[in-house]
Symmetry: C2
Subunit: 494 residues, 2 copies
């Protein structure tokens, strides 16, 4: 969920200042319309890790907008009176009326997350809280409240770096307390609770927006732009949009950086080294597949990637190491008539392997949020809900002892062009290139956006994506094999 | 949830036969259209307690419709192959394609319920299953599947009676096995798991329909009519209706019997006995309110009822026993401007008492599913979701140590007329009767329907409704007081 958020996002000072000037005018205008029409309330949840700019952003929002019509509520420990009432009572009391903006700095998620991390409550109580939160947020949506949920994120490295930088400078060292280092220490435990929490509570009606917290200017523009867009959309349409359409695109683009552009697609690996590595990795995979632990596990490997990125070649290097009776490759093309008569995921469920088997999906269920989204083959409301359905589907596989690996093979636009031309020039490769490939190429940017959203929404601790730099085929194939081998070994070790 | 289902519903043989003849023709016609258009699939879940006619109904449906286009799947213990896959895999395999009817005799709910009753899984795992089921059913709805969920119900008494009747008759005694008596013994444990399960999985998209299982003919017509209506509606509109509108009315009426009509509204209690009882009960209530356990509990008493049913009088008999500093009466009328600017439940949340206090709601949050439903003040989609929101709200109160009692004061139409006229005749009572009261009276049947649905959808083990026979005010007041006193005593004992 945090893939895009931990990239090194930056905004230049002059760009920031120019943009903020315009943003403030537009926000004030939207806020004025909100107050005049009194048709709906706006509720902004500010959540996330320490040091990611939550407090700063709350102050900024109050500075940018008219603070007389914003009510900021900080929810720390409940007062005696609050503790004597049901947990949601204090949030009900603080809800903003129609025409106003309410900011909840910390909200209903805070207590259950902290209590779960501290082991004060068990998994059952935590799930019950998640259920209550889902119902509360759904109710707010149904009641017409514009609910915006911002999760400010820093990676453990970013958080550590930030503390060290503050501690080193004499002028800021006082800001770093023992508690801050303690929080850093418990980062992983927090992450283990918050990641699935965010996944479960990120619904079509009220998705979490993960705010990259490292750069002050970037995060401010990110939140400001998203808030403005959401306000303007809602003022225009009046009614809440159907679930899920509300957040296309999922997050504003503040800089040109994204997950794919952050990759170094040309990775060195020469043919001789490749040959050696390939043999070693295939040997390890072969051994693993004959290990008796394999009989109680199944393996699913998903291959997605740009056209001509080398999916087929990578798949063949995997299958070459395996006994043909133990694996199957499922090429995914347009659905058959039988498949079209069933719910979308049906055609993938039917190919899920039992224990002792490995299945390779050459393209997969991600078609819905890639080609179907970009080409408009299904409505936004359908591909938006697919993220949640896919996460749920994959969680069920992993809980059932499936080792699940997902590869996105990425090549540059230039490299793709080179390969397309090469295919056209070579007689026996000509069948591999079609009109459609050239058409898809026209939509490079739209696909890029879809891939980034896909990774952000479906890369989970249970089922992470592996982005494979694939301009060099040798490198790509070894990275795929190594990831697969290590995933299986890791599963065996547990 | 089962209030209506356990009434003594009956259908005469000749009525049944006439109706079934027409029903079969209509069902076959609908099925033919379904198969010709192939626009959606129908999935029927058959669930519920033993002996309530599940198997018989499945056979009937196959008999009534064209069995070539129905696929019935019985899900007993999973096969080895099924057990080796994720739990939902076997259901995915058996999904009906568009144009067909699939019957699942037992489905995804069976295993988690049985395992939870047998304590093979904990509360956390059970909640996780509930979550999976909710997502599965939501996905099916979003994919356009017409999902119909029938829960066949018998009360413990009805189940016991049925077994005894079978055992007594020499011709049927062989049908009663030791296992049947065991099931009867474990009835309460099953109920404790299934009741909250049904509540949580009864969503706007896919509500459970509780089928009264005791009378063979009644239950057959109940399911047949509901199925036909759902099929015809969907064939007409093509698209699934927005969540929640799909099930108005919530269940077909097969006979004239309903919860209110089943009450004996005239209950004997003369003035002298009343005076004695009143004093005793008020004394008990007064003592309870001064008990030190009361300081850690709060009490909420909800009063709803027909116009002129005597709510005010009953409320005064309660408050007379209490210290004015410890209770508050909240009369609920039309919302204020401030309240209209907030989500519906906000105005009730603000009056929730803290520990040591008792709050009486003279009319309540149930206005949404009563007057607002009947008068069309809110859309069906809004009052339908209110059932779930109210159940969730009340669960939060009860979990927070609130003693919650809910009274429906019921009088007959004739008694109401008598009281209206009396009020008009007596100078100091005239202000109590308005034009609106006479208008509401015109809609007696619609209100009656709304009350029955309300009780069926919101009477839970945590927060049961008490129906008060109120033609005799003396009886009504003592029943209210006694119920309140016993509820508080019961809470103190735990």
């Amino acid at each position: 969920m945090f893939e895009s958020a931990v990239l090194r996002h930056e905004v230049a000072k002059e760009d920031y200042e120019r943009e903020v000037a315009a943003l403030r005018i537009a926000l004030l205008e939207a806020q004025r319309a909100l107050g005049a029409e009194k048709r709906f309330a706006v509720l902004i949840l500010i959540a996330g890790v320490e040091g990611a700019g939550k407090g700063e952003t709350v102050n900024l929002l109050n500075e940018w907008m008219d603070p007389r019509f914003i009510e900021t509520n900080g929810f720390a420990l409940p007062t005696d009176e609050e503790a004597a009432h049901p947990p949601l009572w204090r949030f009900w009391r603080a809800l903003p009326p129609k025409g106003r903006v309410g900011i909840f700095f910390g909200a209903w998620h805070t207590a259950p997350i902290v209590q779960r991390v501290m082991k004060e409550i068990g998994a059952g109580d935590f799930d019950r809280s998640v259920e209550e939160i889902l119902q509360m947020e759904r109710m707010l949506h149904d009641e017409g409240v514009l609910l915006l949920k911002y999760w400010f994120h820093l990676s453990k490295e970013q958080q550590g770096k930030r503390l060290k930088a503050l501690a080193k400078d004499k002028r800021t060292a006082w800001r770093v307390t023992k508690a801050d280092w303690k929080i850093l220490e418990s980062y992983d435990r927090f992450f283990a609770v918050t990641e699935p929490f965010l996944r479960k509570t990120s619904t079509g009606e009220a998705p979490w927006l993960v705010v990259p917290g490292a750069d002050e200017r970037y995060r401010a523009l990110f939140v400001g732009r998203h808030l403005l867009q959401a306000l303007q959309d809602r003022l225009k349409t009046g009614r809440p949009k159907p679930p899920a359409e509300a957040d296309v695109p999922l997050a504003p683009r503040v800089d040109k950086l994204n997950l794919l552009r952050a990759l170094t697609l040309d990775q060195p690996l020469d043919k001789a080294d490749y040959a050696r590595e390939l043999e070693t990795l295939q040997g390890r995979l072969s051994l693993l597949s004959r290990d008796k632990k394999f009989a109680r596990r199944s393996v699913v490997a998903v291959f997605e990637g740009n056209d001509a990125a080398g999916k087929g070649g990578a798949v063949r290097r995997v299958t070459a190491a395996l006994d043909a009776r133990r694996f199957r490759t499922v090429p995914v093309a347009a659905p058959t008539e039988e498949e079209r008569a069933q719910p979308y995921l049906w055609r993938f469920w039917r190919h899920i392997p039992g224990p002792g088997f490995l299945t390779i999906f050459d393209r997969s269920w991600y078609g819905r949020v890639l080609v179907e989204r970009v080409e408009g083959f299904c409505a936004p409301v359908d591909w938006m809900r697919a993220y949640g359905e896919i996460n749920e589907f994959e969680a069920q596989l992993v809980e059932n002892r499936t080792v699940l690996t997902k590869f996105w093979l990425a090549i540059s636009s230039e490299e793709q062009l080179r390969r397309f031309k090469e295919r056209e020039a070579i007689e026996f490769k000509r069948h591999k290139i079609t009109e459609e490939d050239w058409r898809n190429r026209q939509k490079w940017d739209a696909y890029e956006q879809a891939v980034c959203d896909m990774v952000d929404r479906t890369s989970t601790t249970l089922a992470p994506w592996t982005l494979v730099e694939a301009n060099n085929k040798y490198f790509a194939r070894t990275k795929v094999l190594r990831t697969l081998v290590e995933s299986i070994e890791h599963a065996f070790d547990r």
